[in-house]
Each structure stands twice: as C-alpha cells, then as structure tokens.
Symmetry: C2
Subunit: 545 residues, 2 copies
Amino acid sequence: MLGLMQEHKLLVSSLIEHAASCHPGAEIVSRTVEGPIHRSTYGQVRRRAQRLANALEALGVQRGERVATLAWNGYRHMELYFAVSGMGAVLHTVNPRLFPEQLEYIIGHAEDAVLCFDLGFLPLVESLAPRLSSVRAFVVMTDRAHMPASSLPDLLCYEDLLAAQSDDYAWPDLDEGTAASLCYTSGTTGMPKGVLYSHRSTVLHALGACTVDNLALSRDETALLVVPMFHVNAWSMPYAGAMSGAKLVLPGPALDGASVYQLLRDEGVTLALGVPTVWMMLLQHAASNGLAPSVELALRRVVIGGAAVPHTMIESFERDFGASVVHAWGMTETSPVGTVCNLLAKHRALPLEQRLPAQAKQGRAVFGVSLKLTDDTGRRLPHDGEAAGHLKIRGPWVARAYYREEDAPILDEEGYFDTGDVATIDADGYMQITDRSKDVIKSGGEWISSIALENVAMGHPLVAEAAVIGIAHPKWQERPLLVVITKPGQVLERETVLRYLDGRVAKWWLPDDVVFVAQLPHTATGKLHKARLREQFRDYRFPDG
Amino acid sequence: MLGLMQEHKLLVSSLIEHAASCHPGAEIVSRTVEGPIHRSTYGQVRRRAQRLANALEALGVQRGERVATLAWNGYRHMELYFAVSGMGAVLHTVNPRLFPEQLEYIIGHAEDAVLCFDLGFLPLVESLAPRLSSVRAFVVMTDRAHMPASSLPDLLCYEDLLAAQSDDYAWPDLDEGTAASLCYTSGTTGMPKGVLYSHRSTVLHALGACTVDNLALSRDETALLVVPMFHVNAWSMPYAGAMSGAKLVLPGPALDGASVYQLLRDEGVTLALGVPTVWMMLLQHAASNGLAPSVELALRRVVIGGAAVPHTMIESFERDFGASVVHAWGMTETSPVGTVCNLLAKHRALPLEQRLPAQAKQGRAVFGVSLKLTDDTGRRLPHDGEAAGHLKIRGPWVARAYYREEDAPILDEEGYFDTGDVATIDADGYMQITDRSKDVIKSGGEWISSIALENVAMGHPLVAEAAVIGIAHPKWQERPLLVVITKPGQVLERETVLRYLDGRVAKWWLPDDVVFVAQLPHTATGKLHKARLREQFRDYRFPDG
C-alpha cells in the first residue's frame, strides 16, 4: 500500500526557488576577477539564472548536454550552478589547476558543448581551444566593458547573453534521477574519472549539509567558500546556501592570507570552509602582521577537508581566532560529505590538548552514509578505534559508476565503494584515516601507516618534508623506506633520523633505510605523488636486502 | 541523462539502522506506565524492533496492514514505530483522548489488524472490543508480571511476544512511496480523516527536523517529548532522534508539572517539545513551589506547537528557565512541521519585549514546504505582514488525499492544500495565523479575526474565557458576537467590556453584542468548539438587527 503524500521531486531548481521565496534578500558577496566586491542576493541569482537558462537554450543547449565552467568562486559561477542543472543540462565544473593535457582530456571526455570561463583563463582557453572539438560556444564570464581581445572567433560575453533574454523561465519538471552536475577526480594514477551527480543526490546531500550533526549551514551563518566551486560542488555550499538562506562570501581567485582576512573581517564571516593549505597562509598572515583575529572577526567555525588537519592548526584557530575547527572528510565520489568531526559533550568538557586526538579525526558518518572497514579479503573489521582496514562507503550521494564507464563495477557485493583509504573507526563512530590503501606498507601480514611515519619524521626540527614508501622485501613482503628533504643549509644523518624515530613509533615500524633527496614529486593539486616516488625508487634495494 | 549515484531508498528502517550503527549507546529514557524509569538505547530499540517484527509476522501481519497503538510515550511505543513501518506494515497511532465513539470509528475505518495498548487503557479497550471487528489480536504493552486479569480472551503480552522471537530480522527493501504510518485528524467538524504518511515523506521530514533552521535536533540534545507519540508522529522526534542520536526522554502518562520538572532535571533535558497546556502546568508548578529552574535545569529550548503561544509563556521560559521558546506550526496533514519560528540575528539583538511580536509568530517555512496566501477567489495575496489570507501549503510531506478518500481532491490547481487557517506572511517570511477560515468574521468585505478579538477580551481582568463568532447581519453579512465567561464570583456588564475593547481594536471590529455564559463547548483535545458554539447561537439575533 502506498502512502498518500504529495509527490514533489528533489530538484536543484527547488533549492533556488525556495531561496527566492523565503530569503530573497540574503546576500551573495563576491570578490570579482576584475577586482571590486560585488553584492548580489538569492533573489537576483534566481532571476539571472532564469535569464541564463533562456540564453543557453538559445545557444542550443539540450537537456543532458554538458556546460563546462573554468572559474573561481563568484556570483556568475553560482548562477551557472542553478541555470544549467535547473534547465536539465549538466554542469561540468573543471579544475583550472589541472595540467593542460588533463583539461583537454576531461573536456573532451565530457563532450562539453559550452565552456564558460573567467577572464583570467583566456590564454589557457585560447591554447586549448583548437583541440576542444565538442565545444560549440566559448563564454567569457564578464561584462562588455571587460571583454578582452582574443584570437578566438565568436567569443561570447556572459552579460550580453543575459541582457538579451527575459527572466521569464519555468524550470522543467525532471525525473529526480536526472544528472545535475559532473566533476572529475584528480587521481594520481590513471586518467581522471567523471562522477555524475543527480538532482536527488544533490538535494539530499544539501539537506544533510544543513543538519546540525553535519555542516550545520543555516540562515544564521555567513559562510566564506574558500573551497573552490570547481572542487566537488564546493562541498554543497551553493546548494545548501540556497536551501538555508546563509549569506555566502565568494573570494574569487584571491586566496592569499591578506585577501581572505579582509573578507572575513569586512563581511562578518562566521563559518569558513577550505583545505589546509589556504588556512596555513591565513594563519601566517595573521601571525606575521600582529593581527587580533579573535577581536576583529566573527568567525566561529572553520571546516577543513581535503587533507588531514595538523594539531597546530586546530590550536591556532582556537587560540588566535576564537574559532573551532571542524574536520570533515569526503571525496569526489561522495558528493563529497562522508564524515564530519563534530565533538560530543564529553569531548568539549576536556582541555584542548586532551581533545585534540578526537578533533583531528575525520569524524562521524553523517546520516545517509554507511561506512565499513574490511581486511584485504573483504571481511569486516571491528569499529574499536584500533583495527585499521579498507574504508568503504555507501549512500544516496555516493557514486555507483563513473561517467562513460557505466558497465565497470566499482561497488562490492554489499554496494559499498572502496575509498582507497585505510582507516580506523572508534566506538563513538569517529573515523580516522591512517593511510591510502596503495601507500600502506604490508610488513609480515601487518600494516604500517606511511602517513603516521611521515608525520613523526616531520616532527624532527631539521626535516623539511618526508615521504615513506614500501619497498619489496624478500622476508617481510614490504618494508618502509623513508625519503627526506632536509631544511635548507642543514645536514642530517641516516642514523640521527632513525634514533629520532626510535621510541616514537613501534620498533617494527622503523624504516629499513633513510635516503635524502633534493625534491619530492607532487600532483597538480599539491599532494605528494607517491606513485611517481615509487616509480623513482623502483630499482632501489635495502642495504641489507 | 540520468546521474550515476547509488540508489538507496528513503525508508524508516534506514533510520534505526543508522542509529544502531552510529550511536547505538545513545539513550531512550522512559517513565513507564507501571511507574519506574526505564533506560534503553537505540541499539536495544533496533534489536527489540526486529524481534517485534518477527512477532507481528508470526501473528500474520501482512505488508500494508495496519497495526494500531493506544499508548503514551515510552520505549515500547518507539519499538512499534520502527518495527511496524520497518516491516512494511502501517503504524496507526490512535489518540486515546478521543471519545469512545470516535475511537471505534477510527479503528474500524483504518481496519486495524492488531491493537497494542498501554496497561491503563484496558478498561477502554474492553469496552470497545466487541465493536472492533477488524482487530485480530490485542496486545498489552507490558511484561508477564504486570499482565492484568481481563474479560478479553486471548489477550497477548508484549514482552512474551518478543521473548518468543529471535532478533534476526532483515528489513524488507520497500518502495519508498510505501505507506509507513497513519494518523487521524481530530476535526471539529465531520468525521476524523486519516493521513497516510509514506516512508519517503517520513524520512525527508525527519531530515528536515535535524536542520538548523527547522527543529535542529542533534546528537547534542536531550529531548523531552511531551508531545504525544499518538499526535502526528510526535513531531518526528522518534525518527529524527534515531537519525541524529539525540537522547530521548519519554514521559509516559505523567504530564503534571511536578513529573515533567523532575524529568527535565534528572535527565539533563536541553530541548522540550509540546503544546501550551502542558507548559502552563509546568510554569505554575515551578512558580508555586519557588523552584529555580534556570539554575537546576539544562533546558535551552522549548518548542511549542499545536496552539498559539501567549507572550507571557515566552517571557516566563526565558526569565525563569533561561530557555528560548521556539514556536512551530503544522498539522496532521503536514507531518506536521510547516513553519518554525527561529529568530534572525536582527531579532536577537532586540530586548525581549521588542522581539516578542516576531517570536510569537508561527515562523518561517522550512525547506521543502511552500506557502501561499490567497483571497476567497484563490488570487495570491502579498507577503507583506499585513494582508491576511487563506494559508495554503505544498511539499513532499503534505497530504494529497485522505485515507480511503483517494478520489476526493483536497489540493488546488497548483497542488496546494488549504490549511483552513487565515494568516499573514511578512517580508522575512514569518507566517502568523490570525484565525481559522471558518471562524473569521466577514464584515462588509473585510475580515475580522475572531482570535485577535478573543485575545484582547481575555486581557480584561474579570474575563475567564472569551469566544467570538460571526452572526449573520443584513447589512454587513456578518458581525462579531463576543461570548464571555466571567471569573468566579465576578460580575461584568456588556458596556464595561465594550468600553475595554474600544481603543484596543479597530472601531469596526467592536462586537455588536456581548453575552455572558456559564460554560463554552470544547473538543476532546481541549480546543474551543466554535462549530458547536455557532450551533448554540444559531437563532441569536443582534439587539438592533
């Protein structure tokens, strides 16, 4: 027997319609690529998104076609979020930090029909354009006054497109399973893979982001999105913002400490979201300029994801900014929010140093998401905070296949996606990533966390950067090799490092060797490129091996 | 083109499974009908719900069949919530405060197959049983030691049923549109009507209840459910509790001031939810016993719905309890949450007396819900805080038809349900109910709010209760008649009352007459029964009419 409730589909258009109806005046503040601060509202975003939808239809964009963006965080990008998905096309947010050959591959693989880009990316687009055969229209996200000279013929001006259209546009009533947006993983191995989000997954994920135990976005927040809008839907903030009426602050390309600090102060930001790198620049800016952020700012929470949060960062935000760090974890395949580290009352009762271990964990599974840990054979491991296993995830905003690889299964028999991470989960449900599956060192049937070893090695005052990889070993299968960059002008000995580690890690975790290098390979997004490092050390043998 | 995300259905079973996986130890504390406090956990609720599902299947309960409860708030009722819906049957929560003939009608109309009831309702059930022909099994929600002697043959004992079963039970994978629960309206006119909630509407509504701008239930809260579990799913708290891991406190039948106060104090309640009547008893208890609730209690928020909140109640909770009142509005047909009165920063900056007008409104539409105001012809009215119109509501947890009246349309051409209320909505989206549509007095093409008039009349120190109804008038169509009960031993004159009102309401709102009565008719749930009052005054004519 079926219930007798109304059947309303979960559509991206319902988010901006709710915003325009319930909090039309709530602000979207952008630092523009052109320079000045721009102020818009959800009501304006909705009207301009409707014009944009008319404009894209006039350009011949069909339902299901991909419209790509190559853009920083700003109000026009936000309009594209709602116009493209709302009209039934697919918003493909492209990461401009990728290498040109990756950009070419991704735009070609997605068969993007239209490419909308910020002014600053014109040279990049001009160089790529001859090889972007699917792209029928190139749109510069600016007004007529700022339109640049270009080698590209028929370059379109975003504001001209809007000016030519009416804002009379009725969002189509789509199947809620319809694709809404597309984002490619920036994998360190193999080619990038596309994750195709649906309207349903997007709205459920945004609803989750407004719950207290998740990211708790609300009408009361002014949220600074340092996390890029080309990076997994900016962690849902454009959608959750429209849902809740939170004031959003979009920083454009200026992510240096001074620019971010200025926005935090001038806009009364209460919640800021981003990756550790940007926060490091902010903390350094505040410290080196003798600023008093806890007095000058209204910042209450800093949500940090994308990489593990150092304890010192949690301490600095709390002490100097009067803001709590909320650690979160997810990936492109999970929309992204999988876990959020909101503390329990029992943690909050502890002094900072005693709650740091809990606060530095990746957090608890949000409702909708189910996690499990398994060993190499797929057998479940206990959630005791000790057992480290492959972290697998299931839920309505988790991918079931990659775009144009629909037939390649990526889920196990219980429907879980293997995150590629190794993690523990404690009795309170707090998950902590200990390593990447492919980086963990399998020694005599036990696992050694390369990340844990690197973190300890990095504690040595003369170590600038450290990487640990597994090297084949005849007896133990693999043993750890520590690769170190010493600080400029400093000299370190193999034995000094090993003595430093001894007592700080289990005896059997001690690396079998330490080698010193001048540099380490990194990915386009700044992460240690361990696959390339392993490749470099393919022929390495341990001294006694 | 469809997205490539996992397809997980929104099912009630997913709520208790999430709870058992992520916060199995979070508590459910019940004051039992038998007396003592009982402590359970979400993990235990899930295991016992699985046993119960096995037991109900053993009793022959089929998918779609109705299992009724006649019970106060307690852990066994909570187990029924998850077992019955989880197994694909329909939980029918019956309001034991209804008149016996209403109970007989409702249980017969729902064709309930099983009736589970609290010990105290045995006499009621015994008297009804001969006329409950659909009920195959009567289950007393108690253990063997408390099983009563009864005239009913084959009375079943809840704990015996569970003891006979294994907790090995796999929840079926249902269509998310499947009916999950059934609740009848307690209409003042006509027979009660059944609202049939689906799994999808229930889960979406619960997810909403965990968002910050809605009821903001979270792992951090200890929530006292004074709102009965037979009253529109206890405002979703059993579901949202499982979703969030909030500690729930279930007060059983003891809703007197002393009992409620004791639970608030002993269990560290932070959030309490219920109707004004119960809070009145609590406030009186605290005041008359010289208690210091703001010192003794951890109470932060009191969510009040079901009737308008008097300003004095908001003041008392804030001043004496240190707790904020959150006004909320909804109805059986809306699952129930439609609006919640969370304040904006600009309100909170105001002193109490200046923010009371905002805080006493019913609040803003939560995401998912869309409101409109119309005149008698269906034309939309502005949201300017002035125009009062018929309040209509649309959303995924709003009914589209009543049970067994599937073919009778209850929505307008835009899919909105007419709430039967008259309301205003201001520019910030705050809705305020000014009257019931059938009670509003239509005078010369304008509307006079009977409720507003009653509230002003009730301000007179000698008035104990006041009711205003419209009386046919040859010139103005209708004019207000004020019906008053004076305080015991007091005497009031018609002219005194009219002089009191003069200047406090618009001239043309002044009642054409005042009559004094010894009592006023009320419904089973304690509301003024205006239909009956109008019936009593059917032949009344104004002195000058």
